[in-house]
Symmetry: C2
DNA sequence: GTCTATAGATGGATAGAC
DNA sequence: GTCTATCCATCTATAGAC
């Protein structure tokens, strides 16, 4: 009910996947391949907004401007639509080309640069991200994408911390710092839409930098 | 359509509206323990596991050992079941009686004590918590409980930081610390089941304590 | 490739007997 | 308070014409 249908059309047709079916092929050839894309576009948007179970194939067809039977021509079942969505527009590639920032010791800056990259990437996969986070543990298909996403997120933060701090602090401190910042990134991802660096992210980057820069002898050791 | 006008007896069925009878079965079978409670129990469990939309009233009835029509005797609609669940077993009371820890300056210990309390409370409302976190932004009914839960979580952390650190650090540092630890608590809550203090929680408590104990002049100021 | 028509099942919800 | 029987809407999926 909340208006979250912004952006991310992704369709080469450039049409709002709402209504008014473009029955004509944009490139003069057979307009076959476009219907499948339109169906996936609509399913992606509706699944993200209302959830998988609450979205019927009828609504997908209406939003895509095609008939229901055409959906079952391209996808054997409704689950296959979700599977295709996760397979073709999944999160696996979204965070694939993130660079580990090089700041020569400035952890706060490094974490912010990392967060900026991640936010930018996730904006392009915002709807799929919402689907995965929502349907995890209910739809078995989304379970592995969710786990892989979380592992990738943690891995990126750990690499960033290790690259930035090197051997200037203990391994336990690096692990604690990375775990903490990953939690903040997850919270940001949960609260769509992702519009750049959040205030929470900035503050936590500062907190992590302070903790990592602290001499471990200053207080007790971090839990291992 | 035939066996419809069989009998005509207009049974008044004037019963005492007071529910004085406990209706407990002497053999403990399905018997008549409060059916309404059984329905709510089943709905709570199924909603948490499969989601609201994917759970039909038929499955709720089967799990509760009653007929589907009995559900509609107690609840006018399926949504009303969810509403009753949120109203009678909601998260509002779950975190109501959490004490702000008193550690006289030990932030790491204070955050851990707070986390322990929160985990313990949320264990008792684990299924409702899953429902709220899962259905938020899809089911309008869960939107407010979700927001209130998040605000309560943040508020508790802020109070704990303020109580522990007092005026020994800047307001900006306290805010940054609280925001960071709240994110870790949220991640823990997302990953049910909640079995006591997580390793992430311990590590982040250390990180927050280090950052809060750091002299602000040591590095740049935290974002405000 | 796309449509019309429909099957087959299940969904939520109601009426009324006991 | 609980059940039997039923209605109507909607859902997934299939068959077959063009």
């Amino acid at each position: 009910m909340s208006a979250r249908d912004r952006g991310q059309g992704g369709a080469p047709t450039g049409r709002d996947p709402g209504r008014s079916a473009p029955l004509t092929s944009p490139f003069g050839g057979k307009g076959a391949r476009d219907s499948r894309t339109l169906i996936l576009d609509s399913a992606q948007r509706l699944f993200a907004e209302f959830g998988y179970s609450a979205t019927s194939t009828m609504r997908i067809a209406e939003a895509a401007g095609v008939t229901r039977t055409l959906i079952f021509h391209y996808f054997p079942t409704k689950q296959a639509i979700l599977a295709a969505l996760l397979d073709e527009r999944g999160l696996r590639d979204a965070l694939a080309d993130v660079d580990v920032p090089q700041t020569h010791g400035d952890l706060q800056a490094a974490l912010l640069m990392l967060a900026e990259q991640i936010h930018h990437r996730l904006q392009l996969s915002e709807q799929v991200l919402q689907i995965v986070l929502h349907e995890r543990s209910c739809q078995p298909l989304t379970e592995r994408p969710y786990v892989e996403f979380m592992e990738r997120l943690e891995s990126l933060v750990q690499d960033t911390v290790a690259e930035t701090l090197g051997d200037r602090t203990t391994k336990a401190t690096m692990q604690a710092t990375a775990s903490t910042f990953a939690a903040v990134l997850l919270r940001d991802a949960l609260q769509a839409p992702l519009t750049g660096i959040s205030r929470d992210c900035e503050q936590s980057a500062y907190v992590c930098a302070c903790a990592a820069g602290t001499d471990p002898s200053w207080t007790r050791e971090p839990p291992t």
